[in-house]
Each structure stands twice: as structure tokens, then as C-alpha cells.
Symmetry: C2
Subunit: 457 residues, 2 copies
């Protein structure tokens, strides 16, 4: 009888806790949707500042602006963490055409890939060899590729429901296409944009030469998906079609920049640190609203939403706006390095870097036992149409924090439209829906709340 | 031992069936995403035809176009079902301003509500009384309302995650605001648009006078959410602010139109009919891409996707493109009436009329036992990020088919952006994402497949 009573008390205790969590999470979402700051902050970042490539004036304006906004929130601590970042500048104009017979040309939309060298000032004109991937290069060999422009044209796989998987399956063409093609004497590469939609926007993104000697490097540019289709068809009709492109980009010496950090110090376990963040830098073509202005302003609002809900965290919660995710990951690397030097104990890190779309769930990089515990919270998210808790990656910037005992997590918004905008001139504010952005902030704040309350012990 | 063997065979049979279903559904989604017709059809409906208000030339063009497209699919039967529909015409120009002092005016974006009468040719100018809902009218009474324009300004509730619930909580203002306000001597009504976002688009939609005598009816118009905020603030600063509006709309006699129907006749149970559909009419301000061009083209593609997957349905599958959902529901009513007269046995009906956004699930109007059986199929949808099976409504057009033994269902896409576009000039093709539309078609075809295969016996 006594045992039954204890059991009953235990069960009613559980039920009560559940109710408290439901109420807290309801209050967090209500505030996010009716009194959120994320959308206003994003409006400023996107429309008053714009694209924030590492080393640019805009990136420094974004550092100043977000620090000032965090200062206004009255957190326990707001500071800048210095970090040296690469400075690559696109230079304008970029220009390309295809030439089907001498003098008969069609202009094409291109953009230099991030990190690419310039073409010679007069541009490059050469015959084109279309390939479907890196592995085709060895088959064709130097005989077929020497002196040519290699056109990488393997599209993203439309059958994959998670578009990030389709991206992963293609992005090697952009990342290492130029360094691989130059081994066979190619003079330049053109890469089909990482975009599932057919449209006219070229999408930039990082590429790397590795330790290839500077005088052997060849320039690389992205072409829009419509452009890629047109070029491919034209090459079938006329294999002798030539491609011309000219770009004027340049790598400068590294410059000083900053991660922007704000902190609420934990009440009872201040030494245990939970990070929530996104990256403040973006590519230069659009205003970086989805990638990753959204993740920054959501992360900033997490601290504010928790405050507004009246919750006093046990652990220290830090918002970190990382600099230079796009072309160097220097901010994430530096943050983890300093944390290790200071022997800081990080227990949880959550990144939002998949766009400001309707949140569908979270992915977790953690032990099976921790994942099981976290999964027990899933019913608390279902009223907000957040159903998907999966094991998998988290975010590039928090990756360097990985070690035993830390839970890394990524917000997973609906991915269908992300690559319509990713790294392109149409990654702009008007493509972010206020409610979708706010639901993401609410979801993140709710997860941080539960982690702080229950921990992984 | 024998029993165990039988059990094992039974279980392995189930596992096999599961695998077959998984394969079939995978093939349906693959085809939807790589070889779907929905987006092309929608492009034509939206960009070559445009808004399709009942009784308009465009509505008839849409009947001809969709019938011709269904004919091309080589179905077993394609036909038009005649139905008389109301013909309301907006008339242009519509025009409004607020006047803070004589001659000092600010133009406002408005649109007549569907079914409203015109203003007098010179328009209406009157003082404005702002209310938060129908119930305020009785409190204010004739003394305060007589001779005034009533301004209904209760916003949609941003805290509701399902935006359709927020819509339901507000739409009485639009539907019966005018007929209720006229009882107290009001001369016109202005209704805040049913839109969660602050923007400049007025959203139309149906209103009704019921049996109110024609000479007592007063005109009604929608104002954009930004306009409503501005008017409300202005009234606080200056309660004597006047509002002027002029509209020229007119109700004509009913005209003949059609439901468009295509059918694959069942192989073994042809007498059991499954309907999949959307409504072909739309409001006139945009091109009706989300409401409900999307539902029509998805429904059309369901039959094609099932065919392409190599599946031979046991039951008869009928796509029905209903006419006149927006301002009369005559198509849905007629379809059900004819079905009853012909003693047709409908076992299932699925409607898509909530926009062409990423599908999140289905709602079902059916018995608990049927719902339990259907819910057992949910794991088959989870690879496609479709997680939400709920009991609830289905769709307006299939509602008249309701009776014991039929399962009614509605596709439930993500609802966050729907009311940004609903019934407004920005319900246009560029706001539909191809993949999101196609995923909806795949989800619908998969549900129809499972219902046909397993039934509810």
C-alpha cells in the first residue's frame, strides 16, 4: 500500500513537472510569436547592413550592431572575441558568355566561387568539356582536358527529401573541382549552382586549392541552373562551343575580426556552459538573411525569450555569433581553442544554420544514452509541429567543440526552399517569413530550457 | 509449434507487405519530384489563365484547359458536370481614403468583399467606429453606430500554431459583419484583412447578407493589415477621422458552369468510388495559385502518379475539380446531389485546399475505428517528413458527401505562410515552390494508394 502511494506521488510529480514544462514552453512560444525581436534584428542586419563577407566593412558593422543589441538586453556579460579572418574580395565586373560560332555569343550569369583566383584581365576563352563529377576527369585525362574549361554539371538529386543530403552529394564539384581539373591541364572550371530549382541565379560558395602551387591554380565560377541547362544543350548541338569568362577576385592578407558573445551566467552551475549560436558572416551576393542572419537573430532571441519567460537558468547560457563560417571557420575554431585554453566546461551547443524556415526538428551529435534522454522531451515539441529528432550533424561552427560528454545539436527547419536562396543574390529579407523565423527561436529556447533544467546526468 | 509457424508466416507476410508499400510509395514520390506535371499545369492555370472567379471567362477557360489535360492522360472517363453558379463581378475602380480634417486625406488599399453590394456611385463618407468583433455592436447600439462606418479590427491570434484556427477565430467579422452592423443603422463596414502579416494587401473573401432585404444591405470592404493599423492609430489620435470608400461590384444572375471530372475505373470494385480533388474557381485579385490551383493540379497528378507507379486500383478513383467553392459551394453540393441520385457509393474523399506548401500531414473526418486503421499507415509517411495525422475537418467541397461509412480527409500543408497570400493579389505562381507542391501530390497519391489497397473493412 505504501509502495503504491509512493508510486502515485512519483507519478503525480512527473505529471506536475510535465505541466510546468508545457506551460514554460507555451510561454516561450507565445512571446516569440507576439513579442519576438528576431525579425526586427534581421531587418536591420539584412536591409541596413547587407551581405557580410569576412573582412568586409559590412561584417564589422554587423559585429558592432549585434554587440550593441546584446548590450541593450542587459545580459551578465557581452564581449568580443578577436579572431583573424581571411579577406577575399569578389571584385566586379564578372562577365561570361558562350560562343557557338565566332562572334555569335550569348551572355551567361556567373559568379566567382569564394577563394577563386581571378582570370587574366582579358578573361579566358576555351572549348568546354562537360563532366558529371570529379571521377570523370581521370577517365578523360590530360589529352581531352588540357587547355579546356571543365564544366561540372551533376545536378542535386531531386529524389532526396532532405535537400541537405542532395547538397552533400554535389558540393565536391564546387569545393575541389578546380584543383582536380588543373591536374589535367584545364584552364578554368564552371560549376552548376547548388540549387534544386531552375532559375537564373548563380550560387557562390567556398572552394579550396589546398597546397596547390599558386602558379598552377585555375579560376572557378558558378553558373546558374538555367545557364547550366542551356550550356549543356548547346554543347550537345555544337560540341565546338566556346566559353568565355572574366573575373577579378582577390585574396588579401588576413584581417582582424570578432566573434560576438553574450552571456547569462548560471545561478547554481555557472561553470557549465551551454552555447547557442549562428554565424554572423555571409556571402556577398545577397544580404545573408537565411544564411545565416536567421540563425544569429534566433540565437540572440533565445536568451531574451528565456528571460521573458521568467526562467533562471542553472547553467551559463552563451550566445555566440561566429565570424567566418563561410570561408574559413576561423571563428568556430578560435572559440573552441580559447575554451580549451581556459579549461571551460561546455555541456551543450546548439546551432541554427539551415535557414529561417518552419522548424521541423533537431539533429543531435551525442551518445546514444543522451539521445534517448533528449528524445523523451519530443512530446513537448509536438504541439508546435516539431516532430523530428534525429541523430546526425549539428553545425559547422560548434563542431570544433566536439568531445566526449558534450551534446551538439542543430535546428532543422524545413529544407525544401533553402537551396533556392543559399549563397545567391536572392538570399534576401523578403524571403524570410516572420512567423517561421520566430517559431525557430521558440523551438531553440525551449530546447535550451529543457537541457538546462534536466541536464544529461 | 504449428501456431508459432503460422504466426511467423503472418508476421513475415506483414513485413513483406510493408516492404511493397514502402517501395510503391517511394516510387510515387520519386515520380512526383522528378517527373511531376503539377507545376507545369499550375503555371498554365496561373499565368496563362489567371484568377478564376465563378462565372468569369477565366473560370470557363480553366474548365476547358483542365478537361483537355485530363483527356490527354488517357483516363477511363473524363466529363463535365453542369452546375449553375453565382456570378459576382468586382467592378473597378475601388478606392478609399481616410480624412483626418476636411481635405486632408490619405489613400488606403481596400477591396470589396465577395458578394458585397456597391456603394452609391459617389461613394460613402462617414465617421468610423472601430470594434473588435460582432459582440461589440450590441454594446454600442444604434445610438453610436447609426450613420457610421463600422471598422472590424480584431486581428488573427498570432499565438495559434495552426493558422487556420486563427482564421476561424476572426472570419465572422468578414462573413456577417455587414449584415450585423446594418441592424444598428451603420452605412458600411471595413474589415481588417484575414492576414497574420503586416503588409499592404487587402484580402477579399465571401460575405453574406442572408435574407436581409436588398434595400437594407450595406457595402463591405477589406482593408490591408497595415491600413488597419494606420486607421486604428489615426482614430485614437483623432476620433473624428472620416473614411471614404467607393466600390462598383455587382451580383448578376446565375450562370452555367462545370465541375471537371476524370476517372480511373476500379478493376475489382468499380462501384466503390474514391474522390480526390480541389476547387477550380478562385478569387479574382491574384491568380489563385495557392487557393486552390495547387489543390487542383495535385489532384490531377494523383491519378497520373498512380498510373506511372504501375498500380492497378481495385476501386474507382475520380479526380473532381469543383467549381464555386469560394462564393457558393455549388460544385461540391451538386456533385454530392448527383452522387446520391445515382446511388453511387463513395468510400473515400480527399481534398487539397490549404495551399501548395510542404505537406505536414492529413486530417480525417471518420469513425474512431477507421482513424485507428489509417493511423497505422503513418510510419510509411515519416520518411517524407509527414508526421501529423489528426481527426478534424477535411475540405469544403467534399463536405456534402459526408455520411456514415465514408472517410473524408484533407491534406494539411505547413500553414505559416498561407494567410500571407489567401484571397489577395499576391496569391500568385512565384509564391509556390515546385518541390513543396510535388511533395503534396506524392503524399495524396500515397494515401489514395493505401486506402485502395487496404480499405476500411
Amino acid at each position: 500500500m505504501r509502495r503504491i502511494l509512493v508510486l502515485c506521488l512519483f507519478i503525480s510529480g512527473l505529471a506536475l513537472a510535465q505541466t510546468e514544462d508545457e506551460k514554460r514552453i507555451r510561454s516561450i512560444f507565445d512571446t516569440a510569436l507576439t513579442d519576438g525581436m528576431a525579425y526586427d534584428w534581421l531587418n536591420h542586419l539584412s536591409n541596413q547592413i547587407g551581405g557580410r563577407l569576412s573582412g568586409s566593412v559590412q561584417a564589422e558593422m554587423a559585429v558592432d550592431y549585434t554587440k550593441a543589441q546584446l548590450d541593450e538586453l542587459g545580459l551578465d556579460k557581452v564581449y568580443l572575441q578577436p579572431v583573424m579572418v581571411p579577406k577575399w574580395v569578389r571584385g566586379v565586373p564578372e562577365f561570361a558568355y558562350m560562343e557557338t560560332s565566332p562572334g555569335v555569343t550569348t551572355n551567361m550569369n556567373i559568379c566567382a566561387l569564394g577563394g577563386s583566383i581571378a582570370t587574366p584581365a582579358v578573361g579566358i576563352k576555351a572549348n568546354v568539356v562537360e563532366v558529371k563529377g570529379i571521377e570523370d576527369l581521370a577517365t578523360l585525362g590530360e589529352e581531352k582536358l588540357s587547355g579546356k574549361i571543365v564544366f561540372f554539371n551533376r545536378p542535386m538529386d531531386a529524389e532526396l527529401i532532405n535537400t541537405f543530403e542532395a547538397y552533400s552529394g554535389c558540393v565536391d564539384q564546387r569545393a575541389v573541382g578546380a584543383s582536380e581539373a588543373s591536374k589535367y591541364g584545364a584552364v578554368g572550371v564552371i560549376v552548376r549552382s547548388m540549387n534544386l530549382r531552375l532559375d537564373d541565379y548563380p550560387h557562390t560558395g567556398n572552394m579550396r586549392y589546398g597546397d596547390e602551387p599558386i602558379n598552377e591554380r585555375i579560376p572557378a565560377a558558378a553558373i546558374s541552373t538555367n545557364g547550366a541547362e542551356l550550356l549543356s544543350t548547346t554543347l550537345q548541338l555544337n560540341p565546338d562551343t566556346k566559353f568565355y569568362f572574366k573575373q577579378n577576385c582577390k585574396q588579401f592578407d588576413d584581417v582582424k575580426s570578432f566573434n560576438v558573445i553574450g552571456q547569462i551566467t548560471g545561478s547554481t552551475r555557472p561553470e557549465e556552459i551551454m552555447v547557442v549560436g549562428g554565424h554572423l558572416d555571409s556571402w556577398d551576393l545577397g544580404d545573408g538573411s537565411h544564411d545565416d542572419g536567421a540563425g544569429c537573430v534566433q540565437s540572440m532571441d533565445v536568451l531574451r525569450l528565456l528571460r521573458k519567460s521568467g526562467y533562471t537558468p542553472q547553467r551559463t547560457i552563451r550566445v555566440v555569433l561566429f565570424m567566418n563560417e563561410e570561408n574559413g571557420l576561423r571563428g568556430g575554431t578560435e572559440y573552441a581553442k580559447v575554451a580549451m585554453e581556459k579549461k571551460e566546461k561546455h555541456v551543450f551547443a546548439l546551432e541554427s544554420d539551415s535557414g529561417g524556415f518552419t522548424p521541423r526538428g533537431f539533429s543531435f551529435d551525442c551518445s546514444d544514452a543522451d539521445f534517448e534522454k533528449i528524445t523523451s522531451w519530443k512530446p513537448l515539441f509536438e504541439p508546435y509541429m516539431i516532430h523530428s529528432f534525429t541523430k546526425g550533424g549539428s553545425g559547422a561552427d560548434i563542431g570544433p567543440l566536439k568531445k566526449d560528454g558534450i551534446v551538439l545539436s542543430g535546428l532543422r527547419p524545413d529544407s525544401q526552399r533553402y537551396f533556392d536562396h543559399h549563397h545567391a543574390a536572392n538570399d534576401t529579407f523578403e524571403h524570410v517569413n516572420k512567423r517561421e523565423l520566430e517559431l525557430g527561436a521558440g523551438a531553440m529556447a525551449s530546447l535550451v530550457y529543457l537541457f538546462d533544467k534536466y541536464g544529461m546526468e
